[in-house]
Amino acid sequence: MTAPTTTDTAGGIGGRRRPIIEICGVSKIYPGTPAVTALHPSSLRIDPGDQLAIVGASGSGKSTLLAILGTLDDPTDGTVRVDGRDVGAMREAERSAIRSSRISFVFQQFHLLPAISATENVATGLLYTGTSPKERHDRAVTALEAVGLGQRLRNRPGELSGGEQQRVAIARAIVRDPAVLFADEPTGALDSATGEAIVALLTKIADLGTAVVMVTHEAALAQRFTRRIRLKDGHIIDRYPSDPQHASRSKALQPARIRSTPTSRQEQ
């Protein structure tokens, strides 16, 4: 797994990219007394190969935004398009199919199944895609090797460190070869050194062409991403780079980035 020297390989055809996910005027209001507006009308697009960090304090609406972007939750208003198709008009089966083929998630709590091995956990990532068991297994092994856990194939989650468990979860996310990987506070349950390594792994995945969207409350980690938005009280209050159309990941815009290989075992 070598990082490409140029980063426009995931770019669209003819210089103009079609966004993978695009939200327009999307808001989320939780009914009740009083009703809570978790997200005020917001627009955002995610292009192939994007590295987007969503930053904000807890309760700022960043997880709500992530759930809507990931088609896990419905907005109260506004439209969500995946590959140009309106998700709001889709039946649940279609959305599930989009999730199984285009979108992956990594969670703060890893959400690994405790009773099965790392390989089987990663293979679960392909369970709902119609892939044969043999292929699921083979691809799971490849994905685990890619995140540096080639020696831990048969271990159960309980036998792995926190950082290793999150790597298994990341392997489960990338085994599907998704267009977008959403990471919701992926370092929240890890110490800072391990967290750094996980973020390095995520940016590396982005370098290989998968768009990575990470929610975090740690500004320092967000600095590793080429695009950042800041949320406060349900509003997007800050965008970097400031022009949202300027999403190309020019190296010049990037701050100093820790170059790290996923095989380095910093978490130990």
Binding site: A67, G70, L72, D73, D83, E92, A93, E94, S96, A97, I98, R99, S100, S101, R102, F105, F107, Q109, H111, L113, P114, A115, I116, T124, G125, L127, Y128, T129, G130, P133, R172
Partner: protein
């Protein structure tokens, strides 16, 4: 792109995923399936015990004569008995569900049995002489206590087999003694045990049919006086209706009698025991189903994280429902198989300790796992739907 917009879930994966849920929580699985296990065990044990009791009771009733029909000649228009045709036994044997036919023939007139030739003829002790063909022994289900019953040779000889009471009153304890019948000595061939249904046999000295035909003369010698017809268990009522026409086709002068009260008792015993057993087993199963439903409701609550994860991986609500439904059915199937083993063991033990026939109805063996799976699926329906309806984001948040 359209091809990838479908998420699929293979049957094998459904079963494996459900098995994972069951196998990774062995203690819970054991506890959850215990209810169904007990239910199926009760079902199996109760039906087994009921079947065993029933088999025993029916055997007793049949020994008492519940499956017996007696065909006798009736009195005709000239006030005489209309004899049954000689072909009657053969015809009756051909009737469906007839197991055994025993034929008695008319005894010579004025013939009695005495201990010796010096006993006054008036002291007949209430004993009588009966003429039987060898097939009578099976038809009346009598057992030989001492000596032997008639065979093809001895039915032509001056020998007798004594009923229990007859032997006592004559003071005969061993075969080989002699008794005085109709003015000549007969060797005692055997002594019968007490015959349950045909009490007449107990007080009779039975002599062979061929000997009587050879040694005596008379208009009625060789005629059939009675036919004991033993039906297959439970078939007495069906057999009874056709016996008269089989024995003497076209003649109204045939009388067929059954021990109606016993036949009725047999039919009702058949029903009531089965109903009681099934009701009890049904209650036990219901309790088992509630146990599984409860376990699955808790499991859905506890595994919200897993449900959210699977939804995020692209599982449809129906696939989540299928998974939990299959898990519930698997729990119940495990319980069902364990219960079948347990119940079969209990029923066998019960029957063996009471010396009754071991009867495990094959229907129970086949139906138990099916019933268990059905019960499990029914119990899992509500929890499975709850799991399917869970919002993915809420599910993921709860850990």
């Amino acid at each position: 792109m359209n091809a990838t917009f479908r998420s699929r879930f293979r049957v094998r994966d459904v079963l494996r995923t459900a098995w994972l849920g069951v196998a990774s929580r062995p203690h819970r699985t054991a506890l959850a399936s215990l209810g169904v296990a007990l239910g199926i065990a009760s079902l199996t044990a109760l039906t087994g015990v009921a079947a065993s009791n029933q088999a025993q009771l029916l055997a007793n009733l049949d020994r008492m004569g519940a499956n017996l029909a007696i065909i006798t000649p009736a009195i005709g228009p000239d006030d005489n008995l209309v004899p049954l045709p000689a072909t009657a036994p053969e015809m009756v044997k051909r009737v469906d569900f007839v197991a055994d036919v025993g034929v008695f023939e008319t005894a010579p007139e004025n013939i009695s049995v005495y201990r010796s030739d010096v006993v006054p003829p008036t002291e007949s002790n209430g004993l009588k002489v009966t003429v039987a063909r060898p097939d009578v022994l099976r038809a009346i289900e009598a057992k030989v206590a001492e000596g032997r019953w008639f065979d093809d040779a001895s039915r032509s000889l001056p020998v007798t087999v004594l009923g229990r009471t007859a032997a006592e009153r004559l003071g005969i304890t061993q075969p080989g003694d002699r008794v005085w019948i109709g003015g000549q000595w007969y060797g005692v061939l055997g002594i019968l045990e007490s015959a349950g249904l045909a009490t007449d046999i107990d007080t009779a000295a039975i002599i062979g049919d061929r000997w009587v035909r050879d040694a005596y003369e008379g208009a009625t010698i060789g005629e059939i006086s009675e036919m004991y017809v033993r039906a297959e268990p439970g078939q007495t009522a069906r057999v009874k209706d056709v016996l008269a026409s089989a024995a003497s086709p076209g003649s109204p002068f045939v009388s067929v009698n059954t021990l109606t009260a016993l036949t009725d008792a047999r039919a009702s015993a058949d029903d009531s025991l089965s109903t009681l057993g099934l009701t009890l087993a049904g209650i036990a199963l219901l309790v088992g189903a509630i146990g599984i439903a409860n376990t699955m409701v808790v499991a859905v609550l506890e595994r919200r994280g897993e449900i959210g994860l699977r939804r995020s991986l692209g599982a449809r609500p129906s696939q989540i429902a299928t998974q939990f439904l299959t898990e519930a059915a698997t729990l119940a199937l495990i319980g069902g198989i364990a219960g079948l083993a347990l119940g079969t063991g209990a029923a066998t033990l019960f029957a063996l300790t009471r010396g009754q026939p071991v009867v495990i109805p094959i229907e129970t063996v086949i139906a138990s796992p099916l019933v268990a799976v059905f019960v499990g699926a029914a119990a899992g329906l509500y929890p499975a739907l709850r799991a399917a309806r869970l919002s993915p984001t809420l599910a993921l948040r709860a850990v």
